[in-house]
Amino acid sequence: MALTFARLKLRVLRNGFRGRPGKIVLFVVGLLAALFYGILTALFFLIPYVPNAPDWGAVVPAFGGAVLVLGWILMPLVWFGVDETLEPGRFALLPLPRPVLLRGLLIAALLGVPAFGTLLATSGLAIGAGVGGGPLPAVTAAVGVVLGLLLCVVASRAVTSGFARALRARRTRDMAAVLLAVLAASLGPLQFLLTSGAQQVGMQRLAPIADVLGWTPLAAPYVVGLDAVQGRWAAVAARLAITVVTILLLAWWWSSSLESAMAGTSGGGEVRTRTVTGAPVARFFGRARLPRTPYGAMVQRERRYWVRDVRRRASLITFTVIGVFLPVVMNLGPGAAGNVVAQSVNGGSMVLVGALAGLGIANQFGYDGTAYATHVVVGVSGRVELRARAVAYSWYIVPLLLALAVLNAVLRGDLLLLPVMFGTLFAAYGTGLACAMHASVWAAYALPENQNPFAINTGTGVAKSFLAMGAWFAGMVLAVPIVLLVVLGGSVGAVLALPVGLAYAAGAIWLGLITAGDILDHRQPELLATITPRT
């Protein structure tokens, strides 16, 4: 049975490639990247076992493993989405017992580039244990590696489907709850990073943390190799038990959320039959003071969609979490305020977040799916379309960015930094937005029409999100002049940062608008074709 699922997954993957050489190329590039980073990480994991290892080598498995597991949990939420090639809902009509289905889906999930890369990377632990302690530790470490991979896959599935279920509810009340939950969840790692970073980083500080990590599911499967080499078999048994129990618990959670995915819950389904009052146009705009034109209509509709569409909501929420998390961690690390390094780190984090904020619209047409046909039929002008979308998105993002900058300035205890931070942040937002606009026209991709807001089609989806990453990078590079102005410009640079940054952003967005808009005018049917899901 499990074999059938594996064959099905490979068949779907292969059929997806048929007649699309570009997709194959991107897949191969992804595979090569996994190979490269996998081998690199495997070598890194060998460090604790080599003779005359540096004293920090002992903590490598614990920290490396924890990063891997956290990556598996967070990356799908933030960036890639989950590969739902074999979507659970498709099996709803088949007489399959739940355990069989779960096993099948798990095996299908294991057959993928990320799982391959992870296995390759952690294989370094088993090899190292073999070199350092002989065959028995090697086998022990190998068991840990396999269990670790299972843990990663099950955890990522369970968390995304659980999160998806929470986000599916339409009412905004739920959104607030989810937001709080995510914020609370990110406080843990935040605190950990703050305490470890704020104090001088040293072996005596890191070792206890690694010790604690080793007893959590995050790193337990990855440190058993070291234990085995040192002959601590009780610890090995305990850690493996922790891992297995965690896997079983996560599988149980996944299985329970699988049921709701298979039933195909149609989004809360509350039917509001309250009657409509007031003139339609006045009701459509509400209190928004927008022109009663195609432009105004699109801004208003986009604003509604950023709240009403689950996928868009998910992307706003995850950006908020990263936006809070990233600069705080980067800025409160070692190195006090004042010097050039601190200034660069601060500017860099602002650029990172600003460009990432722009990236939210990189697949803005994909969110609409075939509904975009309405705009094609009417013949909306490309520049107007992109301007309306950028304005509506900024309506949510700009206040958020302002709040982020203020939060950072307060945490650093230096409110005088604010103008500089605003300048860099918005310059990067402008360049990021301009690049994302182009990405949205050139590299749009279809999102499957199912309920999981994190689901993407394997192959094209993942490949195109690499292009979006390229847009992020381009956005950051384009914002570098402003960072240079701040870092090298001294007090003059600090004064000029805000006005120059804002003007720079405006210029970038304007250029992006007219270039991408004119391209869009000539690409509307092609764009519609790329965002139409193939069923």
């Binding site: 989004g267 339609p280 006045a282 459509f284 009663r292 105004g296 075939t370 046909a373 039929v377 013949g379």
Partner: protein, 251 residues
Amino acid sequence: MIPDSAFALQGLVKRFDTKVAVDGVDLAVPAGSFFGLLGPNGAGKTTTLSMAVGLLRPDAGRALVLGHDVWRDPVRAKSLIGVMPDGVRLFDRLDGTELLTYQGLLRGMAPDVIDARVTELLDVLALTDAGRTLVIDYSAGMKKKIALACALLHAPRLLVLDEPFEAVDPVSGAAIRDILTRYVAGGGTVIFSSHVLEVVERLCTHVAIMANGRISAVGSLDEVRAGRTLEDAFVAVVGGRVSTGSELSWL
């Protein structure tokens, strides 16, 4: 320009990979006609209509709306047609009123005109009761009706409808038929695709039958029927499999 044809397709071709979906379609839809485009599944009806309204770029050929080329002069041509595509989502996270208002604003209509027409359209199509229900929660028939309302809102001269009677219950179907008949009586032109031969026979003045990406028969309803029922004519043109009565005996 051909003055008496509201809608003209000339040599439209579309290939997907190696498969030729539409293989040189020529069609002239006379102004004021009620034109039915028939054909079995996969004949290329949707592909043809998509190319004709600017949703899908043809590999060759052109489409003229009242003399304006859809691909050379899209702004003018698109303002003259109302389109109801099939298998395409609407902006369905708006409620019915919001969706129609949005459509009107996109078409650049004046707010007071939109107010009057939206209210009237929802009333005639019996969608007022849906209130603030989002279109995504509508039934299939309601979705068809709201899509038709979107196509009608700016009072186009030509309506292009893909499968307007699919998944529609008899009451809604009658309402749609009634609206379309009055629209044609008022001087408008309708072209729609359908499988429902009975509706086509009742409504249409002109018919075209598509099979394998080509137009196999075209003309006024009587010309195409040539004395037979439309169903017989359809099967004869398309070439269906004749049952011998011996298959599926295990059923």
